[in-house]
Subunit: 190 residues, 2 copies
């Protein structure tokens, strides 16, 4: 059931760093993106794959993690992602940004979840520094970085409380709680 | 397999208009959106549901269809969508647009595909006229309209030819062909 997969596909931020993800697995995930919808079928998105520790280390320092969790700046050594897919827009194909990157990011992460992996969509990226670190030509705009790995944390969805606070939080057992707005609040009666 | 579902989930534009889609089905699809990722977990998206012929008729005239197909302005009577989910951004929660609407649109359409339905993400919308037709308050920005129904057309993916033409096209048997860029073209070696 797609519902089970969507629920299982949470934002994971701690991984078994030693768990290898192959280049072939990343290519299979990009294939899912390739089969996904694109505005006017232009398909302006390109993908940089990384699954080697050395290349991963060039990406990791330029990603920002879980802004709401105080005193936690991101996964520690041993808990870092073992792969990345960086989503770029090829400005020679289109220079305005729709929501294609959201569509493909969801396809990729659902595919990763099915494979027993998990990940996190990271939009908070130090653009120009990452561009330099990977020597990404100017024609590509960096839209989103997907961090991937074998999750080593528990993430649970709960319904947002009456206080309206949507900040995710971690309990004393390191379980990550994600408050979601109730269904009736997000359906608009007109 | 998620791959099968993603491949089956094509942009459909002709439907069995008499095939009913219930309010409850639409709510189940929005539930999939609710469980999907949201930037900083803000969840600014709201949803308008429509599955009654009268309400559908207020939406349909303000959607634009399949720009590449000449001499075809959209589905005819009897082929129109039997439901819509309109995705809005609640500007009181966030007034900048990330890719949340792409993420949830993919979740919703994969859910619809699993239910034997299909649909189309329509970004080309006559915003202000649709706003008036449905009396949508100004605080909501219309991001995307998902047209839904029981597909009555065949849509096939093929690999883009060497001419680089990505325009979808219809053959004499009314089969809709969608050229996708080859995998090796969309993976960027850096």
């Amino acid at each position: 059931m797609i519902k089970d997969l969507i629920i299982k596909n949470r934002g994971y931020r701690q991984f078994y760093e030693d768990y290898p993800i192959s280049q072939n697995t990343l290519r299979e995930l990009v294939e899912l993106a390739r089969f996904s919808a694109s505005t006017a079928n232009l398909q302006p998105l390109k993908y940089i794959l990384s699954c080697e520790p050395e290349k991963n280390e060039r990406i990791f320092p330029h990603t920002h993690w879980a802004g709401y969790i105080k005193n936690w700046v991101g996964p520690r050594k041993g808990e870092k992602p073992s792969a990345y897919i960086i989503i770029l827009e090829d400005m020679e194909i289109r220079d305005s940004f729709g929501c294609d990157h959201g569509i493909v990011a969801q396809s990729i992460l659902l595919g990763a979840t099915e494979k027993g992996l998990g990940g996190c969509m990271i939009g908070s990226i130090n653009q120009e520094v990452l561009r330099k670190a990977l020597r990404i030509p100017d024609r590509y705009k960096i839209l989103l970085t997907l961090a991937l790995g074998k999750p080593r944390e528990k993430v649970v969805i709960e319904t947002m409380g009456k206080d309206g606070d949507i900040k995710y939080w971690r309990d004393e057992d390191d379980v990550h709680h994600v408050p979601k707005r109730p269904l009736d609040e997000i359906i608009l009666e007109v």
